[in-house]
């Protein structure tokens, strides 16, 4: 009896062992060549970019992917950034990495394409003069809504204190800085204000708002508009454009109290052993062609003047927020690293998320 049932297990086990043996040999074959490694979100640069870069410069480049700023930041802090050459992160993270000494200064002589940038993009609050970062894409955070189902919202309070017919039909971003940003804007405060009064007022507002939400959503909010589950969502402009692409009744607006200016940037890891090649990559990305690709495929604005001027005008017709001028964009405050304010800020966010 015992024998019979061991036999019935033997076969799958044999397969498992054989599989492991194959796997081991494949694994042993993966040798490391000299090359630079770029970490980015998946799909955030042209699929053939690395290939073209190698063709043009002779430098081998490999892509590594991350899901969120927080993850790549955590990994670079814990591992000292070893293995990475160029990172794509949002500006507050670039700022923190710089303060921690984990990114390298940019040598402008090696990045001639920086001249493609708008003048406004050279004086961004987190890094005036682009000393350690180069902007890649920028935009605003606002409200994305179904214009066939509701009138245009005008205030952040339309989201935080929704009218009765919108209750249970709105979503908010749950990434801490943007969640709190909506409240700070509604209160007329700075996005980087971590004073006790502002945090307390923001908390009250957001705990009350929580009751009327369909959900917090950072990833699929535009799909909820398309499917009709939600009528209005707290959204980054580019992601609202994905919704607009599926349903022309979806529109994007910035409430009267304003928005933040978000900036995604490139930084060079201080641990990079090939900084010249990393500079060459940053320079390559700042070429007009890459900017055009980003704008037409990701539907994000780029701070690349040459690229925005080369853009197909019909794109701006379909996605009006793509046409926003750099002067209008840079009116808005940027999210900055909070330094010591991070502790009370994080606690407030935890309290909001834990509230019933």
């Amino acid at each position: 009896m015992t024998n019979k049932f061991t036999n019935s297990f033997r076969l799958p086990f044999a397969w498992l062992t054989a599989g492991a043996a194959c796997a081991l040999s494949a694994f042993a074959g993966a040798a490391q060549a000299e090359k630079i490694v770029i970490s980015n979100w998946d799909g955030y640069m042209p699929p053939d970019l690395l290939e073209n870069f190698t063709m043009e410069t002779g430098i081998e480049a490999e892509l590594s992917v991350h899901g969120t700023n927080e993850e790549i930041m955590g990994k670079v802090v814990a591992g000292g950034g070893k293995g990475y050459d160029v990172l794509f992160v949002s500006s507050p993270f670039a700022e923190a990495l710089n303060n921690l000494g984990l990114v390298a200064a940019i040598d402008h002589d090696k990045v001639p394409n920086a001249s493609n940038l708008y003048d406004e993009a050279k004086e961004l609050a987190h890094d005036p003069g682009n000393n350690y970062s180069m902007p890649y894409a920028w935009g605003t955070t606002g409200l994305c809504y179904r214009s066939d189902l509701m009138p245009e919202p005008t205030s952040w309070n339309d989201l935080l204190k929704p009218s009765d017919d919108l209750k249970g039909k709105v979503t908010m971003l749950s990434t801490d800085r943007w969640l709190m940003g909506a409240a700070a804007l509604a209160l007329g405060k700075s996005l980087n204000d971590t004073s006790d009064e502002t945090l307390a007022a923001a908390k009250d507002l957001l705990v009350a708002a929580k009751q009327d939400l369909l959900a917090y959503d950072d990833a699929t909010f535009y799909l909820k508009l398309v499917s009709g589950e939600a009528t209005m969502v707290h959204a980054w402009d580019g992601w609202c454009n994905y919704g607009i692409g599926e349903n022309a009744d979806i529109k994007y607006t910035i409430p009267s109290e304003g928005s933040d200016l978000w900036v995604d940037a490139l930084v060079i890891a201080d641990a990079s052993e090939n900084k010249d090649a990393a500079h060459a990559f940053v320079n390559y990305v700042l070429g007009a062609d890459v900017g055009v690709w980003v704008a037409s495929n990701i539907l994000y604005k780029t701070p690349n003047k040459a690229a925005m001027e080369a853009l197909d005008p019909s794109l701006i017709e379909t996605f009006p927020n793509m046409g926003m001028s750099p002067a209008d964009l840079t009116k808005y405050e940027q999210l900055r690293d909070l330094g010591n304010g991070q502790k009370p800020f994080a606690r407030t966010v935890t309290e909001i998320m834990a509230a019933q």
Binding site: A20, F27, A30, G43, E62, S64, V226
Partner: protein, 260 residues
């Protein structure tokens, strides 16, 4: 009475498999979704299967996931089974219990950051091997837990009898103990393979930089920002189909060879 309760059990099993597979059918259906949307149906298309076969990063990531899961499962199953036998037959202590429970309880993010800091301290080059080293840690705990349930109430006198009859330790282990605990070992191996295939945080932190040590969960989470496309559903559909076929044929061969 017994027949009736057996019928009830069979019905429960059928309902249980339905519960398990209905979401998988939805997932498969979405692999034929025309638009690149993960949750909204827009019409039929085979486009994503075509895209999948040209999507090198996804295929490479799938290969890496399989390598990590298979090797870490084999290692964890061997070490975990030995540990379970050792703990149940000779060294039962609460300190040991705590060490064996710990990998299940320690939050993934803690283990992830701890291991990366540790590997960095040792100046170790990261790659698939460092993910494997890390996955074995939590997999061991799950294998030990499952195999131990089987070791409980195990009649240890059989082992003594075997020894008295002059069988070597190794023979006793292989011929008496191992067959008796085999279902536990199999269950533990399946469990650890499944956990490893889906694990994201620890893999992300302990992976080397670059495509060559990116696993499928890492690849998929990195896609969230700019759209998780039905390519992933197509990938999962193929994985399901291939595994299903393998199981089916394993079962068939099994029957022909062993049920004489």
């Amino acid at each position: 009475m017994r027949d009736r309760s057996n019928m009830g059990l069979k019905l429960h099993l059928v309902l249980f498999y339905t519960f398990l597979y209905v979401p998988i059918l939805v997932l498969m259906a979405l692999s034929f979704n025309r638009a690149g949307l993960p949750t909204v149906w827009t019409g039929f298309s085979l486009e994503w299967y075509g895209k999948l076969f040209t999507a090198d990063p996804i295929l490479l990531a799938a290969r890496n996931t399989l390598i990590v899961a298979l090797i870490s499962t084999v290692l964890a199953t061997i070490f975990g089974t030995l540990l379970a036998v050792g703990v149940e037959t000779r060294h039962n202590s609460s300190v040991l219990d705590a060490v064996l429970f710990a990998p299940m309880i320690i939050p993934d993010i803690v283990l992830a950051i701890a291991l990366l800091s540790f590997f960095t301290l040792l100046n170790m080059t990261l790659g698939l091997h460092s993910i494997i080293l890390s996955h074995v840690v939590f997999n061991i705990a799950f294998v030990v837990a499952v195999v131990r349930t089987r070791m409980r109430n195990f009649d240890h006198s059989i082992l003594e009898a075997s020894a008295d009859l002059g069988a070597s330790e190794f023979t006793t282990f292989r011929r008496i103990l191992l067959p008796a605990i085999a279902p536990g070992v199999i269950a533990g191996a399946l469990l650890s393979f499944t956990l490893s295939v889906d694990e994201f945080i620890i893999a992300f932190f302990t992976a080397g930089a670059g495509q060559s040590s990116t696993t499928l969960p890492m690849q998929i989470y990195a896609m969230i920002r700019f759209g998780v496309t039905p390519e992933i559903n197509a990938m999962a559909t193929i994985v399901m189909f291939v595994s299903f076929t393998l199981v089916f044929f394993a079962q068939r061969t099994d029957k022909e060879v062993f049920s004489r």
